[in-house]
């Protein structure tokens, strides 16, 4: 909201500089996003008359112009062609600083000296016109040598661009901002000049008004104005309206806008000649009713939208024939619009239900100055005061204006302000400091709250302009916020609390940090790939699969929640490859999503209006995905990477088992599952990226293998699924170990790591078992291979005898035998 300082000063005495005011406004929560200084840079600009125009030899784009600005002839080189002898134009003399900081200096152009600059409206910040010089004769009767600001009656002003928070509809006006300032500064707030009805006739004798649906329209006032002459507004009205960034249109429209900007009440003027029976009624739109709004769009009314809680209701204003004239509070229709021939006006100044306006405005995609204010809540008591201000403003350009007695005023349902009780201790309890009773009273009175004090107890009723203030305990929080705001947040004390409960990370969070550290230690660069992807990407791994879709994506290729991070990482690798930096390991820890229809454990939660519906949400699964993209990387590198991770995380019992189950994204014959033996949980997969996927994602994909590790972090962080090594440390034997090699002929279905685990458990003497050779050959039976292990034995009791070792060896062979593996 743009607010002019000069306008504010009509409501409250402000002696502070604009910089000081900016700080005060910020501190009141009326955040100043920008400050515009009107007239800045125009101080030195004067009115000059064009006396001579000469061509410059060799130049067809510029001419030499001789002007008089009151001190004799001055030669200036000028590129504009829209001037004639005798025209008056703005001259920025040497040394002038134009808006934007441009400094005018003496310049040489085409061998001619130019002693200043003749300006366009845009160069002066006075308009958009930059097609030529600003010819003053078109707008004023110029006098040579007079300052431009004086000539155009521009008053220097400062315009603050203020953001008004959604809970402060009362501050969305000049008067509202002035009220905050007056209260903070302890100064009186002045009221604007208002008109009194001056007509002989009563309003009811000429027009009528009614409310059919009092829940949607809380108050409808209609003022009857005779002898209106539509024409331009007085210049001060134009200035005010323009200072707020709106365009001046006509005296009637400008007065309506001025009142809205100044007091916060939107009004609507109808040409009485086009309102059947001069009757305005507010009612619910009926299904199937249509309206062409002022923006020329035909709108179907009373049709339920898709928005949550949208009942499809629209409040409309109809005339005496029950014809819809406008969408109440949002936009009028074309038929009853004010035009040059209008002489009699019905002025609607009303209160509409904020939620109703919000729903209609959202559904019709129609946000207007009016709807923005009504949906936040306009003061229901303001309607006739705003009408009186409107009439006062319009009167200046329509001296014969007649405002009929007893304006029509029909009541619907408006919220009743709550009565809120609290005491001094409540203030101290919320703010951490006591505020003097006198200060509380003066703040709240300044903000127009009704306050009565009894001992330490305050009983407070907010003004009707403050619909944000609720009843009960919540209301006292609202009031205490107002006390704190006007008192000044910066003046409140600070106290850092302590508590006996320790802070810290959960086991899962610690493990995630540990995992991230390990992955980074192993050379991975951690990535952040998109959560939202395309259907095409999704289909690469799960064609036709159920997917979680976004209703309103920003782009069609960002419409699906990812089911894997493999796609994103492979694409990221491809981009790096294109840049010549493909020799990298990329990793990501993040969430992937599964549609509730295809997951065994969908998440149930409450939702809908009032949380009354049970919703089924997608399963979210946190994973670690690593793509090993260095030259030479392949599935074995991925196995080694995983083995290191598992070792560093202290996983006791995970084996790599080749799997026949295809895993999306993995090379179908180079993939294995990571299985926790104790729980049987599959913690993830290891292998290579399917070359088909790489070709689908990476332009000019090289024939290169990519290692791939994909781990379910939810499983990993659950000790019942991912078994940890015991925390108890073992002191190694002081006695020498014995090392033997054992080669078994093992059937293919027996996994090498499972056999190793079995061997480890076969004798108490086993210290370590390590696979060191795998052999396949024609001298072995079909469906078998040779697995050779190095086994280290030791004992805390003493040096192992040959007998001990032989016994243990036999135990290992027997255990292997029980699994179908025979000593080779």
């Amino acid at each position: 909201m743009k607010i002019s300082l000069a306008w504010l000063r009509e409501f409250v005495e402000l002696t502070e500089s604009s910089d000081e005011l900016r700080v005060i406004l910020d501190d009141l929560g009326l955040v100043v996003e920008g400050v515009e200084r009107v007239g800045e840079g125009l101080e030195d600009v004067v009115v000059a008359r064009i006396d001579e125009i000469h061509a410059i030899e060799g130049a067809d784009r510029v001419r030499l112009v001789v002007v008089d600005a009151g001190h004799g002839p001055l030669e200036i080189v000028c590129g504009a062609m829209n001037i004639d002898l005798g025209d008056h134009v703005p001259l920025a003399p040497i040394g002038a600083v134009l808006p934007g900081g441009f400094v005018i200096a003496q310049r040489q152009m085409r061998g001619v000296t130019s002693n200043g600059m003749l300006c366009s409206a845009r160069e002066l910040g006075l308009g958009d016109d930059h097609r030529g010089l600003m010819v003053l004769d078109e707008i004023i009767e110029p006098v040579v040598g007079v300052g431009l600001m004086e000539a155009l009656s521009i008053t220097p002003d400062v315009v603050f661009d203020i953001t008004v928070e959604g809970n402060r509809p009362d501050a969305w006006s000049v008067e509202g901002v002035a009220r905050d300032l007056a209260t903070r500064l302890g100064r009186p707030l002045w009221s604007p000049r208002l008109a009194e009805p001056n007509g002989e006739e009563t309003s009811a004798a000429y027009a009528s008004a009614g409310i059919d649906d009092p829940d949607l329209c809380g108050r409808l006032t209609v003022s009857v104005l005779h002898h209106v002459r539509v024409g331009p507004s007085p210049s001060w009205v134009v200035d005010r309206v323009q200072s707020a960034g709106m365009r001046a249109i006509s005296n009637v429209v400008d007065a309506s806008n001025l009142v809205m900007l100044e007091l916060g009440q939107p009004t609507h003027a109808y040409d009485a000649a086009h309102v059947a029976q001069r009757t305005l009624r507010a009612r619910r739109a009926r299904r199937g009713e249509m309206l062409v709004t002022l923006d020329g769009v035909q709108r179907e009314l009373a049709t339920a939208g898709r928005g949550l809680g949208d009942t499809g209701e629209d409040c409309v204003i109809v005339d005496g024939d029950d014809t819809v004239l406008g969408l109440a509070g949002i936009m009028g229709g074309a038929t009853s619009e004010i035009n040059d021939a209008t002489t009699d006006v019905l002025l609607e100044s009303a209160y509409f239900d904020p939620m109703g306006i919000a729903r209609s405005s959202k559904r019709h995609g129609l946000r207007t100055e009016g709807s923005n204010r009504f949906e936040r809540g306009v003061d229901p008591g303001l309607a006739l005061r705003a009408a009186a201000r409107f009439v006062h403003v319009l009167h200046e350009s329509c001296p014969e204006l007649e405002w009929l007695r007893d304006p029509l005023d029909v009541a619907g349902i408006t919220p009743t302000p709550p009565t809120i009780e609290f005491d001094e201790r409540d203030i101290a309890r919320v703010l951490g400091v006591a505020i003097e009773s006198d200060e509380v009273t003066s703040i709240l009175t300044g903000l127009r709250f009704d306050v009565s004090v009894s001992g330490e107890r305050f009983t407070v009723v907010p003004p009707r302009a403050r619909p944000d203030v609720r009843g009960g305990v919540a209301g006292s929080a609202d009031v205490i916020e107002e006390i704190a705001r006007l008192h000044g947040y910066g003046r409140l004390p600070r106290h850092t609390p302590t508590w006996p409960q320790p802070g810290g990370l959960s086991e899962r969070q610690k493990l995630r940090r540990h995992l991230r550290d390990v992955v980074v230690d192993l050379g991975a660069a951690e990535c952040w790939t998109p959560t939202l992807g395309s259907d095409g990407d999704f289909d690469l791994l799960r064609p036709e699969g159920a997917r979680v879709r976004i209703t309103n994506p920003l782009a069609s290729d960002e419409a699906v929640l990812r089911a894997t991070m493999i796609t994103g990482l492979v694409r990221a690798w491809g981009k790096n490859l294109e840049r010549g930096t493909g020799n990298v390991v990329l990793a990501e820890i993040g969430n992937v999503f599964t549609h509730p229809d295809v997951t065994a454990s969908p998440r149930m939660t409450k939702g809908g209006v009032g949380g009354s519906v049970t919703l089924t949400l997608p399963q979210e699964n946190e994973r670690l995905t690593v793509v090993l993209g260095r030259e030479g990387d392949d599935a074995t590198a991925a196995v080694a990477f995983w083995a290191t991770v598992a070792e560093r995380l202290g996983l006791a019992d995970v084996v790599v088992r080749t799997s026949d189950t295809p895993e999306p994204g993995f090379h179908p014959t180079r993939v294995a599952q990571l299985v926790d033996r104790a729980s049987g949980t599959v913690l993830g997969s290891v292998g290579e990226v399917d070359s088909v996927l790489v070709e689908g994602l990476v332009a000019s994909a090289p024939a290169r293998r990519l290692g791939l590790v994909d781990v379910d972090f939810d499983a990993l962080s659950d000790p019942s699924r991912a078994t940890r090594r015991s925390e108890f440390a073992k002191v190694p034997s002081r006695f020498p170990s014995a090392v033997i090699d054992l080669a078994f002929v093992a059937p293919e279905p027996l996994h090498a790591q499972d056999l190793a685990f079995e061997l480890r458990g076969a004798s108490e003497l086993v210290e370590k078992v390590e696979l060191f050779d795998v052999y396949r050959g024609s001298n072995l039976p079909d469906g078998t291979r040779s697995l050779a292990y190095r086994v280290r034995f030791s004992s805390d009791e003493g040096t192992l005898s040959e007998v001990h070792v032989a016994t243990a060896r036999d135990q290992l062979i027997a255990r292997a035998g029980s699994l179908g593996a025979t000593l080779r």
Partner: protein, 357 residues
């Protein structure tokens, strides 16, 4: 009278189909293709021979030939698919590797230098500051119901305040009931509900996490971003405690010469609400372009928990009170590292990633 050039078309087509069925590799198929459907094929030859036909017969002949060509081409394509699937199956079989049999001693071991993501680093630093102040760390899901994301936070359906968050809706349930969370605040609701259910108040926790807003990315915003929020629910907690926590955090994270200040703001879930600003880290408060000459940078929002929010989760507001605050993790990272364009964070260019350790 010449017999129709298409007299033997049926036999010729059958012959071509037989040839196709006999192709046993993709290479053979590629070699044979010109003689089956290409320029050197019988089909092309027949086409050329139409010159002998009377003009009125050409249309009929053309249609017959077109049909024959369609049959042959479709057979060829399906054979091509079969053969390439076969070829892939063969390659995969030859390429197969029993990963359980990998001898780790022979494997290629990682030996390069890695880099954590800037977001992870920043999040950890922030968490550590709060953990040292006595906070735990909590997490929640990224897909939420409208109730957790809005209504329990005192933002009812159709309320204009919902417009403050540009929300991505998920195609599940009734329209606009499932959302990508627009802030980490729903985790506060989960946390409070859990504490009530377990009778385990007080709460002192921070909630980092990924959030989503339907906002076209530019140099200072991403549609996906990370936030950290804090929640304290305890006995006797006031606005002064909130201001104290913000101040302590600011000094601990940004450094002892960086100050914080609060000014009134609006959030439906806190009352009183405040925006918090810290001394501009670029100019140290002198005033510069980054801070629009004010010396302050807006970091986040905070406030005393609204009684309506406590009521929604069943916490007795007479016994317990609390505050909440929140700000952007990405924004902290951007401030500290002076990142000119936030989009660098999601481009995963290793030349960018390598700068962080």
């Amino acid at each position: 009278m010449t017999s129709s050039p298409l007299a033997n078309l049926a036999d010729q087509t059958a012959g071509l189909l037989a040839t196709i069925a006999g192709l046993d590799s993709i290479d053979h198929l590629r070699e044979a293709e010109p003689t089956i459907t290409g320029k050197r094929s019988i089909l092309s030859a027949l086409q050329k021979s139409f010159g002998v036909l009377a003009p009125e017969d050409r249309k009929e002949a053309g249609a017959q030939l077109q049909e024959a060509r369609r049959v042959v081409e479709s057979a060829l394509e399906s054979r091509r698919r079969e053969l390439s699937q076969l070829a892939r199956a063969r390659t995969l079989l030859e390429d197969g590797l029993d990963l359980g049999d990998v001898v780790l001693g022979d494997a290629r071991w990682p030996a390069s230098v890695g880099h954590p993501s800037l977001i992870a680093i920043t999040q950890r630093e922030l968490e550590d500051v709060f953990v040292a102040m006595g906070f735990t760390v909590s997490e929640g899901p990224e897909v939420e119901s409208d109730w957790y994301n809005f209504e329990a936070l005192n933002i009812p359906p159709a309320h204009p305040a919902r417009g403050l968050w540009d929300t991505f809706y998920v195609e599940l349930g009734e329209p606009e009931t499932v959302v990508l969370r627009t802030h980490t605040s729903p985790t506060q609701i989960h946390l409070m509900e859990e504490a009530v259910a377990k009778d385990s108040l007080p709460i002192h926790s921070v909630m980092p996490g990924r959030c989503f807003r339907r906002d076209t990315p530019d140099s200072s915003h991403l549609a996906t971003f990370h936030q950290i929020e804090g929640l304290v629910v305890d006995r006797g907690i006031s606005f002064a405690d909130l201001a104290g926590v913000i101040e302590t955090f600011t000094r601990a994270y940004f450094g002892p010469d960086i100050e914080s200040r609060l000014r009134p703001g609006y959030f439906p879930f806190t009352e009183p609400s405040a925006e918090f600003e810290v001394t501009c880290t670029i100019c140290r408060g002198e005033g510069c372009r980054t801070c629009s000459q004010t010396g302050w940078i807006e970091l986040g929002g905070c406030g005393v928990l609204d009684p309506a929010v406590l009521a929604a989760v069943g916490i007795d507001g007479h016994e317990w009170s609390g505050f909440a605050f929140g700000f952007g993790i990405d924004r902290c990272a951007q401030m500290r590292h002076e990142i000119a364009d936030m989009r660098a964070l999601i481009e995963n260019d290793t030349r960018f990633l390598e700068q962080f350790s």
